[in-house]
Amino acid sequence: MFLKASGLCQSHGNRMTLRDIDLEVKQREVFVIIGPTGSGKTTLLRLLGLLDRPTAGQIVVGGQEVTDSERSRLGTRRRMATVLQKPVVFNASVYANVAYGLKIRGEKRDVRHRKVATALEAVGLSGSAERNARTLSGGEIQRVALARAMVIEPELLLLDEPTANLDPVSTSTVEKLISHIIQRLDTTVIMTTHDMLQGQRLADRMGVLMAGEMLQTGDPRDVFNLPRGREIAEFVGMENMLHGVIASNDEGIAIVDIAGKVIQAVTNFGPGEQVYVCIRPEEITLTGTKDSTSARNVFPGEVARVVSFGPLARVEIDCGFPLVALITKRSADEMDMHTGSHINASFKATGVHVITR
């Protein structure tokens, strides 16, 4: 265990922005906190980075409890580095910016020189060492911020929405850089983002923060496919959520009654349980009315709308209950999908995720 937080609470004025957060991050793990804007991610990250003090709760870093004493906090803080959302650079050269952390730690000049050169090379800014950092573009500033953090070789690296303000190309560059840094430095990383796909890409473990509460932590796949609550499900993109009641359950295979229609799902909830049936749009297969399928759940329906979604097509279907499916544009074209088309929507029982209501 590298970092353990228990019962963290934070309030701003009269509002409680963080409620009873418990968190454990293993050494060398990449832990990503996802959540919508305003959920308290930055607040939490600032607490973990020891930039702010919590109103309640405890943090233990590397076996040492973080106390109130400014001196001990400083000591622990020096083992970490935090890269803030929309980082700022000092009005000085890129070199001076990156060397900052080393300079304040009293490192000798030639050591600083060597480490800064390495860090600049890693982020691809070797040629800009003498430029005034204020003249850099947004993406370059992000890279300087990363180099600044890297250069002190922190045991814990905290990143607050590192690509939130960047265009897709820069985002990709920075993500690659982060992965590279993670590999190279072997640090523990805590990162926040509102982009759940980014979380998927980078995380070893993920935590979902919503309205100041940590609702679910675990393997990214679990969070993605087995969200534990409605808000989480919505957030991770489970667009299809249907009200229903468990009619029966035979060794894990349940029959769920959705206003007359029947869906088969894999779950442990017992009969009578009020549930949400969640299906990811990608799990739904669309076939012609005459085709056969091995899926247990097949529903004929009429296409209400087809919307292009990049290389994909988002299809809204009325099967007696609304469904949203995500298929490739190609498939949509091949089936001549349009409003009014009659098709069959099918999905496996294992593709259905049931959560309590």
Binding site: G49, L51, E70, L74, R77, R78, A81, T82, V83, L84, K86, P87, V88, F90, N91, A92, Y100, G101, I104, R105, R148, A149, I152
Partner: protein
């Protein structure tokens, strides 16, 4: 207009022929103003930092008062310093009334609010994220303050420049606590005042031109420093 032109010519003549009295006066003026500015900087920049970085009750009021004192009338300051340094006054024992040191004291009192207040403004002009950045990279409190001060260096230097300008161009304090003693406490401004009252308009203007030239040179030097 010809008076102005003649004044320029006189000014040049005084400088290039190295008129000893004028050179002495100019040198003295510069020495006094630079000393005042430096002393004010040493005292007021840290003070400004202290006020800026701490929260306390009445902070807003204090800053308002400081800003009000930007417009202290020089005669008023001169009067206060005079009665303080006078032999009849509390610090009379120091015996520094009617010496250049007294003028330095008066100038420091005059520009202290200016340098303090403008330092506070300068620090306020640094984005708050800089503080976070410094802390997040492991800076101690002192290092953080120093970093922010360095970020605010241009504006702080400007604050000193303003203080210097106010000191070198004032006459009320120099006359009241300096006494305009020939060869001892006569400065460019007090000399101008005297020459004017004696009707030597051109000489007075020439001295004024020399003063402005000194201020200009100082300003150019500061600008070069800022550009580095």
């Amino acid at each position: 207009m010809s008076e102005l032109a003649n004044a320029f010519v006189t000014a040049l003549k005084l400088i290039f022929t190295g008129d000893p009295e004028v050179l002495a006066i100019a040198g003295r003026t510069l020495a006094i103003s630079l000393t005042s500015t430096l002393l004010a900087a040493l005292m007021c920049v840290p003070l400004g930092c202290f006020i800026y970085f701490h929260s306390f009750r009445g902070k807003g009021l204090l800053i308002s008062v400081i800003q009000t004192f930007y417009s202290l009338p020089t005669v008023f300051v001169g009067l206060i310093v005079f009665i303080t340094l006078s032999r009849a006054g509390p610090l009379g024992g120091l015996g520094i009334l009617f010496t250049p040191q007294a003028i330095v004291v008066g100038h420091v009192v005059l520009i202290a609010p200016l340098v303090t207040g403008l330092t506070i403004s300068a620090l306020g002009g640094v984005s708050p994220e800089i503080k976070d950045t410094a802390i997040s990279l492991g800076a101690t409190r002192f290092q953080t303050v120093r970093t922010i001060l360095v970020e605010a260096r241009y504006a702080t230097l400007t604050a000193l420049m303003v203080g210097f300008g106010r000191a070198i161009s004032e006459v009320g304090i120099a006359i009241m606590v300096g006494g305009n003693i020939r060869g001892f406490t006569r400065t460019l401004t007090t000399a101008m005042s005297l020459e004017t009252s004696m009707g030597n308009i051109e000489l007075s203007m020439a001295l004024g031109i020399i003063l402005i030239t000194l201020a200009l040179v100082a300003s150019i030097l500061v600008n070069r420093l800022q550009r580095r």
